[in-house]
Amino acid sequence: MDTLITKRLSKNFGGIKAVDEVSITVKKKTITALIGPNGSGKTTLFNLISGFYEPDNGKVLFLNKDITNLNSHQIANQGLVRTFQIVKIFRNLSVLENMLVAPKRDYGDSFIKTITNFKKSIKEEKEAYDYTNDLLNLLELSHLKDEYAGNLSGGQLKLLSLGLALMRDPEILLLDEPVAGVNPTLANKIFDILINCRDNFNKTFFIIEHNMDVVLDFSDLIYVMNRGKIIAEGPPKEIFSNRGVIDAYLGVD
């Protein structure tokens, strides 16, 4: 089943075609990678899908629903959650509070409903708190629970932002360079967590990544972008022997 489909999605910035008629399909329970040189439009594509930019043309379908014209927060509420290349977390809050901001709450999200159903909202809080503790254990961040998020190291920040996204229990997760600047051991650990989520919780991942080793090892399907266009798609082995991809991205040796 297809979780995410874009149809001829386009975005221009002035005269530059940042994303040019991109049509991709992300299948359920896969880790799909998006690679390409800097400035090829990968992050712009993510911004278009997640509602941070409005596309000039084309459509985004998520679980067969048209989400093209929804706001970013509405899209996130449908179960499509993204992370950012430059980690966006809440620096002056504790790690625990960061995590507790994330979950979708039936009562706690509304001011009036929290006051009128305070006990239920606290029940939600308890569930969220227990889930947070489990997730922090999984991400090996539980010892930093009460630390300011701003004091975390680069790799830990990546883990925390992944944790924030997982708190929402999303259908599909769009990760923008989840292991950039992360040491190989931690990078492997992050991808182990993703694979665990894919296999045991039926999650889908769409990932921008420059680290070819992990892309080769862990992804099920790769899209290659160059100058706003998709120039190749296929399983990792095929992609890495594709002449066009080697010219555009990997370099000619």
Partner: protein, 328 residues
């Protein structure tokens, strides 16, 4: 009953402090927690003050004036923030300052709102509950004390025990991240701004009831900056801190103001003493910003313990509720 002059003086200073404390708490919710730099705070106070004053002058129950002020402040707050709420902080600040200047100028020139002599303001508001002057002072002080405590507890409850308060802080830290987590920052900001506007308007109503006069000069932008100084001094994002800021700044102002009776005019005349107030506050704020950029009291960090306490206390009946309310 004859009060000792010193008690009388302290009661007067106390009422000033408490009214400023309400305004500082309101600004702290908007700027300290949500990151909405409201440079028009005093305008919302003016709305409350004038709504209450004109109702009293027309012989209508002041409670109607208070409620009317709150409603107008909320509507006005939403009207100016809705178009401005998506833009960056500094532009938001400019829009708020411009909007409330419009209010001040209208009040200054419109007889229907500003009384018979709008430039002079509204005065001759009767004493509270028909009390005599001294009892009025005492009751005013106690009433304001009660109001400040209630507002403080409500705000602490929003920040500590409601997920809503946590999202406000998150919006201050990073709005895009909040959007990516499926929360609509605009909605949260509007609610936070409206609560702040209601509190500020209430402060204006309380001013009328206790001080019994308002002039258009009382809602000059200068007073907004005074409240900003209180919040900066006490510590943004800390309700205790901003109350302390109100005590210190208003205290300095009033004490220097009193000094004029004891300093010979040959040494310093009245204007020089007032300038001395501003100079001392200016020096204080510079010192604080250099050595304690986060204010005297930092924003409290909420840890696992705090969340566990909330969860536990809810199931402990009334005792737990009291503990929840009195926390922080």
């Amino acid at each position: 009953m004859v009060l000792h002059p010193l008690v009388f003086l302290l009661l007067g200073i106390g009422t000033f402090i408490l009214i400023y404390a309400i305004l500082a708490l309101s600004l702290n919710l908007q700027q300290g927690y949500t990151g909405l730099p409201n440079f028009g705070l005093i305008g919302f106070y003016g709305i409350g003050a004038y709504a209450t004053a004109s109702m009293i002058v027309q012989g209508i129950n002041p409670i109607i004036g208070i409620i009317l002020g709150m409603i107008i402040a909320t509507v006005f707050g939403i009207a100016i923030t809705l178009p401005a709420i998506r833009i960056r902080e500094i532009y938001f600040a400019i829009i708020t300052i411009a909007a409330v200047e419009i209010i001040r100028i209208i009040i200054r020139n419109e007889k229907a709102i500003g009384g018979e002599y709008p430039q002079l303001g509204i005065f001759n508001i009767p004493l509270l509950f028909g009390l005599d002057y001294e009892m009025h002072k005492i009751v005013s002080f106690l009433l304001l004390m009660l109001v400040v405590i209630c507002i403080y507890l409500i705000l602490q409850f929003i920040i500590y025990s409601m997920p809503f308060g946590r999202v406000l802080k998150a919006i201050r830290e990073d709005e895009d991240a909040v959007k990516a987590l499926g929360k609509d920052p605009v909605r949260y900001k509007l609610i936070a701004f409206s609560i702040g506007a209601i509190i500020a308007s209430f402060a204006g109503s309380m001013w009328i009831l206790t001080q019994r006069a308002i002039t258009p000069d009382g809602i000059m932008p200068l007073w907004t900056f005074m409240i900003w100084i209180m919040v900066l001094l006490g510590g943004m994002g800390n309700n205790k801190g901003v109350i302390m800021g109100a005590i210190v700044i208003t205290g300095i102002q009033q004490i220097v103001h009193e000094l004029k009776f004891y300093i010979p005019t040959e040494l310093l005349d009245n204007n020089q003493i007032i300038s001395l107030t501003w100079t001392s506050i200016g020096i204080l704020i510079v010192v604080v910003l250099i050595f304690l950029p986060q204010g005297v009291i930092k924003e409290p960090k909420i840890c696992g313990n705090d969340v566990e306490k909330t969860i536990k206390n809810v199931n402990r009946g009334i005792k737990g509720w009291i503990r929840l309310l009195l926390r922080g």
